[in-house]
Amino acid sequence: MSARVGRVAALALLAAVHLAALGAGFLAPYAPTAQNRTLPYAPPAPLRFVDAEGVFHLRPFVYAVTEQGSVTGAYAEDRRRAYPVRFLVPGAPYRFAGLPGHVHLFGVDEPARIFLLGADGFGRDQLSRLLHGAQISLFAGLMATVLSLGVGWLLGTVSGFYGRGVDAVIMRSAELFLALPWLYLLFAVRAMLPLSIPPARAFLLLVLVIGLVDWARPARLVRGVVLTARERSYVLAARGFGASDLYLIRRHISPQTAGLLLTQAALLVPQYILAEVTLSFLGLGVSEPVPSWGNMLADLQHYHVLASYWWMWAPGLALVPVILAYYALSEALSTR
């Protein structure tokens, strides 16, 4: 019973997170690259209900903040004027599912800013960047998984089904790929590609690199399943009736690998998300100003940011529930 609740909770969380990432343009109050140079490292603004005179407002509001003195990150609220939170406000243009839009879920009047998760060193809204960064980090993981499992499935099936020379060649090259520690291999492949490229291409490149580098593990697993499936009596019978190889693979062999692929997917997605985060963190992935969870965390390499501004940790903390949910899912799938 509780296992089922956990599974549903994990699925619901993942669905919510991915939907939020898809709708980032609408949910985020600002464009991820909009800077406020006067507000570096502005702290998260609390939503208030009671104003300076002690009057309660049903509609939450925020105060505008200004930097105090010469110390970065010391801010004071201006309590003279409250800026109520408004819903469905027009703002920075974005594209959602290919359609242009400019209405945001919430926002406040200028000149105040609503930084629910604070701001980074350029005064960019952390929440907006977190949501837009999720688009890159989460979907890089998903797409790389599809790619890696696709290639792994194809090569594993061919290898297991045809055996002999093909099998030997594919499995020896799989060993070659597995002989390297995976992060080293990933970096080495990344090293051969150009370093400074536009974000959209960098994203595709990352997906390609992460997905293609790791084909060997799924290929081996799929091969194992195919090897046993190939010898099943109904497969032999179908072969006896003159079924073609393609038909056998499509009809009898690949359905057997579906469960394995699903379990593997739940395991691989979080790994690949982390791979993207690691590469972008080290400056080998998607680069500024486009946010990814990895390059947002890169700011923490400066000790003063690491120690002083806890909201800069947001992408790292957001990773934890996502990964937990994927692990819970893979556990639920493997004990089915």
Binding site: R172, E175, L176, L178, A179, L180, P181, W182, L183, Y184, L185, F187, A188, V189, R190, A191, M192, L193, P194, L195, L274, V277, T278, F281, L282, G283, L284, L297, L300, Q301, Y303, L306, A307, W313, G316, L317, L319, V320, I323, L324, Y327
Partner: protein, 314 residues
């Protein structure tokens, strides 16, 4: 023998990959108006970059045999001497971490296996799940935060200022002090998975018929655990030892870069960013070598601990 073949394959694969890369170290010089095209050509010719691929691979293999591993353009010296101290530092870090992790995981996992369904079981399940879900990067940054906030540990590097002037004993202590944080990161990163494996394989052994037979003979539980169950559980664990090295080396790369431990990791990243290709190949080969060495060690250990494998070979 198989390992050597693999190493040769990896060297060829990575060489071709790296050599296929667009642009090289000298390509960026072209952008500099002070350097003429002829100079760049002369430099490329001097380092043999204008030769066909097979010849370059042959030359690189020859320099590999001499222990030079090619030539680093950025440092202006052979890669070998740059690599060895880095390899030693990575080895120091990973060997310490592996030893500690196993020293921690085996007793803990064994104890956990004897204690199924209880508060300890639930607590350990939750704790290991949390640690497994904690990204390596966040773990490393968290430990770094601890160091920055408390000042208990150095925030990076391997030695303090004035390390060279210290007496021998103080130098060892200095390095050990700098080791604490990166080792802690690595151990916390790999121990949860290890503990779970140890628990699973010990629990497997404890549920086996021969253990029930031993219990039925009235052999004390302690002796059943240590004399009967543990040796039977050792085989999968030793195989895991070889496998766990791959994850450890990968994580070590990240830890070294973030905590500026002067191992293979920072050198590797620096080489990639400078497009210094022979220097990229060095750490790749070195890490493969470490991994294969670890697997060889695991195989030897397996033969030592499992009599079935010893007799098979005869």
């Amino acid at each position: 023998m198989h390992g050597l073949l693999l190493l040769a394959g990896v060297s060829l694969l990575s060489f071709v990959l790296v050599e296929l890369a667009p642009g090289d170290y000298f390509a960026e010089m072209r952008l500099d108006p002070r350097i003429s095209e002829a100079t760049v050509h002369a430099l490329r010719a001097r380092y043999g970059l204008d030769r066909p691929l097979p010849e370059r691979y042959g030359r690189w293999l020859a320099s590999l045999a001499k222990g030079e591993l090619g030539y680093s353009f950025a440092y202006g010296q052979p890669v070998g001497p740059l690599l060895w101290p880095r390899l030693r530092n990575t080895l120091l870090l990973t060997v310490t971490a592996t030893a500690l992790a196993w020293l921690l995981a085996v007793p803990l996992g064994t104890w956990w296996a004897t204690r199924r369904r209880g508060p300890a079981d639930a607590a350990l399940t939750g704790l290991t799940a949390m640690l497994l879900a904690l990204p390596d990067l966040v773990l490393v940054l968290g430990l770094l935060l601890l160091a920055v906030r408390t000042g208990w540990f150095p925030t990076g590097g391997m030695v303090s200022l004035g390390h060279e002037q210290m007496p021998w004993g103080a130098r060892v202590k200095d390095v050990a002090f700098h080791l604490v944080l990166p080792v802690a990161a690595l151990v916390l990163g790999i121990v949860p998975a290890l503990v779970r494996y140890v628990r699973a394989s010990v629990a497997d052994a404890l549920g086996a018929p021969f253990v029930r037979a031993a219990r039925a003979h009235g052999i004390p539980e302690r002796r059943v655990l240590f004399r009967h169950a543990l040796p039977a559980a050792a085989n999968p664990l030793v195989s895991l030892f070889g496998l766990s090295l791959a994850g450890l080396l990968s994580m070590s790369l990240l830890v070294e870069v973030v905590m500026s431990w002067p191992g293979l990791g920072p050198l590797f990243l620096e080489a990639i960013l400078a497009r210094d290709f022979h220097l990229v190949l060095g750490p790749v080969l070195a890490s493969t070598f470490l991994l294969l060495g670890g697997n060889l060690l695991a195989d030897l250990l397996l033969a030592a601990t499992d009599p079935r494998i010893r007799t098979e070979e005869r």
